[in-house]
């Protein structure tokens, strides 16, 4: 049994399971709510319930006093839904969020291509002619058959081609879902996706130069975002720092070179970390964060940075950006979090990165 949880002032509606806390549901949906102790003592996570019923759980009577309960306040870290809910939280409205509703979309696999030895491009033609509206950078949940369940993949194509969605899927050794996509999925198969999910999109309204850092299978979102910006006539400088292990893995390399040719405000910085010595690769050798540091001469001030890729790469890039004087308010990430990452103890120093 699950309920709908609407979070104001974002206006976004997400699912909340019975027994799940409001905080947990929000964080899992990628919506940051302020929190600290996570067990009802500190009141950092206090929110206003404007509609619906909650169970207050283990909220301390000092952190959430009786008169506040009467006023409809609750502590998101211990409150559980007993009906559909609308809450108002102390979070900023995001002028760039379109808050598109999440829907199920049926479609047909129209094409599968090997982009690299480990990554397949999968194109899905949606039944609805108008396709799926999404913001460049968002992701979908791909429903896989045979009890595998659904897996998250970022959309690699631009929102302008809403009728056919492109996904780039890297095989995870031993991974049920990605192995299915690589070995069993065929053009012509029927498939269902749900989306669009996520709050990873370009803050166009800020109108400042943007830098994308992508590694591994993290290219999808940045690619969609860049295509979208260039199509929309975005005039600020755009830089893509894109890293893979070797040239074979560097998919869409030629396409980015071509884009850089035709768009003077787009700079393309590829980097290979494990390319054989004498391969003739002329561009940067090393990791994404090192390439970015060199390309920006260690000064990232005035940019907004969008990072997408494996957790280790993201971590290295954040440190590089911060030591190049770009801080949390200008850094956005999409981590491909696995269960193990989610369990790490984090300090409350940073909220979103």
């Amino acid at each position: 049994m699950s309920y709908e949880l609407t979070i104001e002032p974002l206006g976004q509606t997400i699912e909340i399971e019975e027994g799940q806390t409001i905080l947990d549901a929000a964080l899992r949906a990628g919506i940051y709510l302020p929190h600290a102790c996570c067990h009802g003592l500190c009141a950092t996570c206090k929110v206003q319930v404007t509609d619906g019923e909650v169970e207050h759980g283990e909220a301390s009577s000092f952190a959430l006093m009786d008169f506040e309960r009467d006023e409809g306040k609750c502590l998101a870290c211990c409150a559980r839904a007993e009906s559909d809910l609308v809450i108002e939280a102390e979070i900023d409205e995001d002028p760039d969020a379109e808050n598109l509703p999440v829907r199920d979309f049926d479609g047909t696999v129209s094409r599968i291509e090997s982009l690299t030895p480990t990554i397949k491009g999968v194109w899905i033609k949606l039944d609805k002619p108008e396709g799926m509206r999404f913001q460049a950078g968002q992701y979908v949940n791909l429903a896989l058959p045979g009890g595998i369940g659904s897996r998250a993949f970022s959309i690699a194509s631009a929102p302008s081609v809403a009728g056919e969605i492109e996904l780039n899927i890297r095989i995870v050794p031993g991974g049920e879902g990605t192995t299915y996509v690589h070995e069993k999925l065929r053009a012509g198969d029927r498939i269902r996706i749900a989306g669009p999910y996520g709050r990873f999109f370009v803050k166009k309204s800020a109108n400042v130069p943007v830098v994308f850092m992508a590694g591994g299978s993290g290219l999808s979102s940045p690619r969609s975002m860049i295509l979208d910006l260039l199509e929309g006539g975005f005039e600020q400088p755009i830089t893509l720092v894109y890293g893979q292990r070797n040239r074979d893995e560097l998919y869409y390399h030629d396409a980015f070179l071509a884009l850089a040719e035709t768009h003077p405000n787009f700079r393309y910085v590829p980097a290979l970390s494990h390319e054989p010595e004498r391969s003739g690769w002329q561009a940067f050798r090393g990791f994404v964060h090192e390439a970015a540091k060199a390309a920006f001469d260690n000064d990232f001030r005035g940019n907004k940075a969008y990072l997408c890729g494996p957790p280790l790469m993201i971590e290295a890039c954040i440190a590089t950006l911060m030591q190049g004087r770009l801080f949390e308010r200008d850094i956005y990430t999409e981590k491909f979090i696995s269960a193990a990452d989610a369990q790490q103890v984090r300090s409350p120093l940073f909220k979103a990165i």
Binding site: P9, P34, A36, C37, L41, C42, A43, T44, S60, S61, F62, A63, M65, F67, E88, E90, D92, I318, A319, M322, Q323, R325, F327, E328, R329, Q344, V345, R346, S347, P348, L349, F350
Partner: protein, 505 residues
């Protein structure tokens, strides 16, 4: 047109802005530097105070409403505790030693924090910062008051609670916490924020409050549990303020990094030394134990502190310089300090005791590498002396560290059989230290620490070395407040009253 447009209620964010940032103004007939004279002299460069992100959005009107309600609730519980002889619900009167140390050493720290934040709120130019510091100043005052009130009921029945203010000012072990806060308060506003807002409230507070409050709960002390809950609902705000301040400094200018790093090194070590008191409380003073000091350190120090320093590394901050020495001290400090307290118990306004056989078995289980090897034999010896009618008393005075003011009872980080001792000669005077950490702090600012008031020298300079006069001066009643718990008035009374309360006699 007589149609009234219903005015949209201000959102939380606008309401906050109206009641904080909008209260500020640009000065016109006074120079900014004259109004905020202390904000530059520490060398911290700030280019844009508007980049200070208010870590929480609480307006003063809402603040008053919440705090008033907390007070009402708190006093209702405390009154009930007093009326129902709540003091007889504690596990054992030995527990009270932990409370006495808290009241003499830590509650005054709350008051000091109050003064410090009131000052910081005046000295910082940013409005968001000013409001946050003001609220914390009032919180800390409330913490000091509620703690004193919660514990005052014990003062009606037990010794050692009656003169905590004198103890705070004059007795020796309390000067550890006192000098910590005095050092912070006499620093500039940014260093104060690192000292109290960051190091104490964030890095160390969990190691202090969580074990202490669970200790209170385990040992039936509902009065303390209540002030704990009431204070804890403020602490998240305090921690966020400290964290925001450190981020702000690091983001404003790259030149701030080495200054902040030096403060982190300093205040971690100073805080760690204050926690020596807590380690002893956890391992020795709770009749019913919560967890060992080592276990608390693993959770709140290694795990949480480790996560924090991992995040700070993104700015180029490294873990505090004394971190490794701290880790090496964990399995020793509570034992070394309790042995110190026991041998000097004639001069403490609380009781200590020889751990029972059962206590010692627990200690060897929790400290398998150190307790049986280094400390059990000493307790066994002390126990033998007591049985022979010649209890071990050390009437010599401890050599105090010029920085942390603890007696130098700790050992070398790499040799637990050798007392650690460092010294510096400055302007022809010799100064003593308990550790490299404390010596470094002194060497960095000698003019500050040569002014320290140290209790042992004061015994001679102010009272000519007369211990009896000293006891009067610190309001310590010999034979009541001090000495071994075994045979004390507290022990006698508690057992009698508890007997009356739980039997039909």
């Amino acid at each position: 047109m007589d149609m009234k447009a219903t005015k949209k209620k201000l959102g939380m964010k606008e309401r906050y802005r109206a009641l904080t940032r909008d209260l500020g103004w640009e000065s016109s007939y006074q120079d900014k530097d004259a109004i905020f004279p202390y904000v530059n002299y520490e060398g911290i460069k700030v280019h844009d105070w508007d980049k200070w992100e208010d870590p929480f959005r609480l307006t003063m009107d809402a603040y008053w409403k919440y705090q008033a309600e907390k007070e009402r609730k708190f006093y209702a519980i405390i009154d009930a505790h007093a009326q129902n002889n709540g003091h007889l619900n504690i596990t054992d009167a030995r527990y009270l030693s932990a409370l006495k140390i808290f009241l003499q050493a830590i509650s005054p720290g709350e008051y000091a924090a109050h003064k410090g934040f009131a000052r910081a709120g005046r000295e910082f130019p940013g409005v968001g910062t000013q409001v946050a510091c003001q609220m914390q100043a009032i919180d800390e005052l409330r913490h000091a008051q509620t703690q004193i009130h919660a514990m005052s009921n014990y003062n009606r029945y037990y010794d050692g609670f009656h003169a905590f203010a004198d103890a705070r000012d004059r007795i020796w072990y309390t000067s550890v916490a006192r000098s910590f806060f005095d050092d912070a308060m006499s620093a500039g506003p940014f260093e104060f924020m690192i000292a109290i807002g960051f190091s104490f409230e964030y890095v160390l507070t969990n190691l202090l409050f969580v074990p202490f409050m669970s200790g209170a709960a385990y040992n039936g002390d509902m009065a303390t549990v209540t002030f704990g809950f009431s204070a804890q609902s403020d602490e998240a705000r305090h921690m966020t303020l400290g964290l925001e301040c450190i981020k702000f400094m690091l983001e404003q200018d790259p030149d701030n990094l080495p200054i902040v790093q030096a403060w982190i090194d300093k205040w971690f070590w100073r805080g760690f030394r204050v926690l020596g008191l807590v380690s002893t409380m956890m391992d020795y003073m709770l009749p019913k134990r919560v967890m060992s000091w080592r276990e608390a350190w693993e959770i709140y120090g290694v795990e949480n502190g480790g996560a924090l320093f991992k995040d700070l590394a993104r700015y180029g901050i490294r873990p505090p310089k004394g971190w490794d020495d701290a880790e090496k001290a964990i399995d020793h400090m509570s034992h070394q300090f309790m042995l110190g307290l026991y041998q000097w118990s004639f001069g403490t306004s609380f009781h200590s005791w020889i751990p029972s056989d059962e206590d010692m078995d627990w200690l060897s289980a929790k400290y398998p590498d150190t307790f049986d090897k280094y400390y059990r034999p000493r307790w066994a010896h002390i126990k033998k002396l007591k049985a022979a009618g010649t209890p071990f008393k050390n009437y010599g005075l401890a050599r105090l560290c010029q920085c942390c003011q603890l007696p130098s009872v700790f050992t070398e980080p790499d040799d637990p059989t050798l007392t650690c001792h460092r010294e510096t000669v400055y302007k022809g005077e010799k100064y003593q230290f308990c550790s490299d950490g404390c010596k470094d702090i002194f060497d960095n600012e000698p003019e500050k620490y040569i002014q320290s008031w140290l209790p042992m020298p004061a015994l001679f300079s102010e009272l000519g070395g007369d211990v009896g006069a000293w006891m009067n001066w610190v309001s310590l009643r010999d034979g009541d407040d001090n000495g071994d718990y075994d045979g004390s008035t507290d022990q006698k009374h508690f057992n009698e009253w508890r007997g009356l309360a739980t039997s039909n006699l």
